[in-house]
């Protein structure tokens, strides 16, 4: 009784449906445009950074052969970890040599732990 001031219910629902379809289309349209622009951007910035990327990787790989100081630090860390795990003091543990193993499971566990802590 006088509830509908300025509309016919069926027309209003039709209009709402039209807005829904239109809205979704605009959202998709804009994001599709952005997608193509990113792809284009990747194409045209791919040639030049090829040299750059190579430079970056060499810069990153050079420090790989650990300098003396870092390996001392690493030995200190390993000593502390072994001592903590064995429940003795660090002075009673002597690291004579160490070698990196391809421990896939440990890497994976470490990665998962870092991810879980970050997010």
């Amino acid at each position: 009784m006088g509830r509908y001031v300025d509309f016919v219910p069926a027309e209003l629902i039709g209009e709402g449906l039209a807005y829904t379809v239109m809205g979704l289309c605009i959202v998709f349209l804009i994001l599709i445009i952005i997608m193509f622009v990113i792809k284009a951007m990747a194409l045209f910035s791919a040639e030049k950074p090829a040299g750059e990327a190579a430079a970056v990787t060499t810069a990153e790989t050079t420090p790989e052969p650990e300098p003396e100081e870092d390996s001392l630090e690493l030995i200190a860390v390993i000593t502390a970890a072994v001592a903590a795990a064995m429940g003795t003091s660090a002075s009673s543990v002597q690291i004579r040599s160490y070698k990196k193993l391809d421990g896939g499971a440990w890497n994976r566990a470490g990665r998962r732990e870092v991810l879980d802590n970050r997010f």
């Binding site: 006088g2 509830r3 509908y4 001031v5 300025d6 509309f7 219910p9 209003l12 629902i13 209009e15 709402g16 449906l17 807005y19 829904t20 239109m22 809205g23 979704l24 605009i26 959202v27 998709f28 349209l29 804009i30 994001l31 599709i32 445009i33 952005i34 997608m35 193509f36 622009v37 990113i38 792809k39 951007m41 990747a42 910035s45 030049k48 950074p49 750059e52 990327a53 994976r108 990665r111 998962r112 991810l115 997010f119």
Partner: protein
């Protein structure tokens, strides 16, 4: 002497909030005030003990507590929504707000004038890495698909308005029905600032209910999403391992915010404040030349704005507007919006999986809702349950950040249509 003293205490007591509540307990709305205070305390409990989005829920709950204590006069939501206080029934009476407004009225201007949500987007931009999206551009489509809930809920809320359920469409005009429906639908974007930005313009009376629904569901993502994700995908699909993402150059990362701003703002100018600030923040970060600004925007500025936004949005929740059937329906519709958005992303993920011949794990689709990084983390978690060696997190971050852009665009569309 003693009589005077007693009289003095009596007069003082009559002016306290305690007298106000109990004096009008049954005659007026005293009991409603008590209910509001109880709700505020429950929200405080959820924020402090359960840690549901405490950074926002805590200020929201305390704002609610503060605004509902009688005679405190820190907040007058009616100055912003009641036509009796508005000039010509729609413009803010700044003179009244500046002279009679309480502390929270003045801070609320930052919401009402649309200042806080874009500033929060600035901080989010400084914290967001669009790298995963740039290296896998297809994943942006999932961010669009996960806006499905926004528009489906929009239709649902229109139906409520047309049939006059729960007090929707009470004034019988199409305009109000559309505006309220758009504000409720945008909860499905899973983006608090965007929901607040749309609602403060289109349906300010629903602001507190919508903000509380939006932030509660963001906190409940780990409960809401996994069952939907498992129901809509097969075991094989969940086990798909995706190819490693290619590294992205800094040049691409710098160009990205500029290009997105151009594309979005040229087509949907109403999204400019949100998308513009998001991309400015991201450009500050990726350019690497304004580190100090980046730190301020993502820490101090964002924290300050978060406090102001939370406490004032909470303060708009007064008994008259909050204790209604509408609030309950908004909470229900919000859940529908969230769930349908999650489903939309997953279904599109399945389509992409088929089209690419099984290269896309559909689980990353649910990350298209823009709750960063919770939604992406859910993709990672559910994926890892099936295949412990699978790392979907970075793949899911692509749709996740695309979802932020997607919901801001959806907000812009609504504002363009109904504001």
């Amino acid at each position: 002497m003693l009589n005077n003293l007693l009289e003095g205490f009596g007069a003082f007591f009559a002016k306290t909030g305690v007298a106000e509540i109990f004096g009008g307990f049954f005659a007026e709305n005293g009991y409603k005030t008590l209910i509001m205070l109880a709700i505020a305390c429950v929200l405080l409990y959820l924020a402090i003990v359960k840690k549901y989005e405490p950074l926002l829920l805590l200020p929201i709950a305390f704002g609610m507590l503060l605004a509902n204590l009688p005679l405190g006069e820190v907040m007058h939501p009616e100055y912003f929504i009641d036509p009796a206080y508005l000039i010509d029934g729609h413009d803010l009476d700044m003179n009244l707000i500046f002279h009679k407004g309480g502390l929270l009225d003045l801070l609320y201007l930052g919401v009402k004038l649309g200042i806080y949500p874009p500033l929060i987007f600035l901080g989010i931009g400084c914290m967001t890495d669009f790298g995963p999206l740039i290296s896998n551009p297809r994943s942006i489509l999932l961010g669009a698909a996960a806006q499905l809930g926004v528009f489906i809920t929009f239709i649902g809320a229109i139906l409520l308005g047309v049939f006059g359920i729960g007090g929707f469409g009470a004034d019988g005009t199409a305009e109000t029905i559309f505006k309220e429906a758009a504000s409720i639908g945008i909860i499905g974007g899973a983006d608090g600032p965007t929901a607040i930005y749309v609602t403060k313009t289109l349906a300010p009376g629903l602001l507190s209910a919508i903000a509380i629904a939006a932030y509660s569901y963001m906190a409940l993502i780990p409960v809401i999403q996994p069952p939907i994700m498992k129901a809509l995908t097969t075991k094989q699909e969940r086990q798909i391992v995706m190819e490693q993402l290619r590294p992205v150059t800094q040049k691409e990362k710098i160009l990205f915010p500029i290009i997105v701003t151009l594309v979005v703002v040229l087509i949907v100018p109403d999204a400019a404040p949100l998308v513009g600030m998001l991309m400015l923040g991201n450009l500050i970060k990726e350019s690497g030349v304004a580190d100090r600004l980046c730190k301020t925007a993502q820490n101090e500025l964002m924290n300050i704005v978060t406090i102001f936004l939370g406490v004032t949005v909470g303060a708009t929740a007064k008994a008259e507007t909050f204790l209604t059937a509408k609030t309950i329906l908004i909470i229900v519709l919000g859940l529908v919006a969230f769930s349908v958005s999650t489903a939309g992303g997953l279904i599109f993920g399945k389509i992409m999986c088929k089209v690419t011949g099984g290269k896309v794990n559909p689980l990353i689709g649910s990350a298209g809702v823009s709750a960063v990084p919770m939604a992406a983390r859910m993709s990672q978690k559910v994926g890892q349950e099936e295949n412990p060696a699978n790392f979907l997190l970075m793949h899911a971050m692509g749709p996740n950040v695309a979802g932020v852009i997607g919901s801001a665009v959806a907000a812009g569309v609504f504002l363009a249509l109904f504001a």
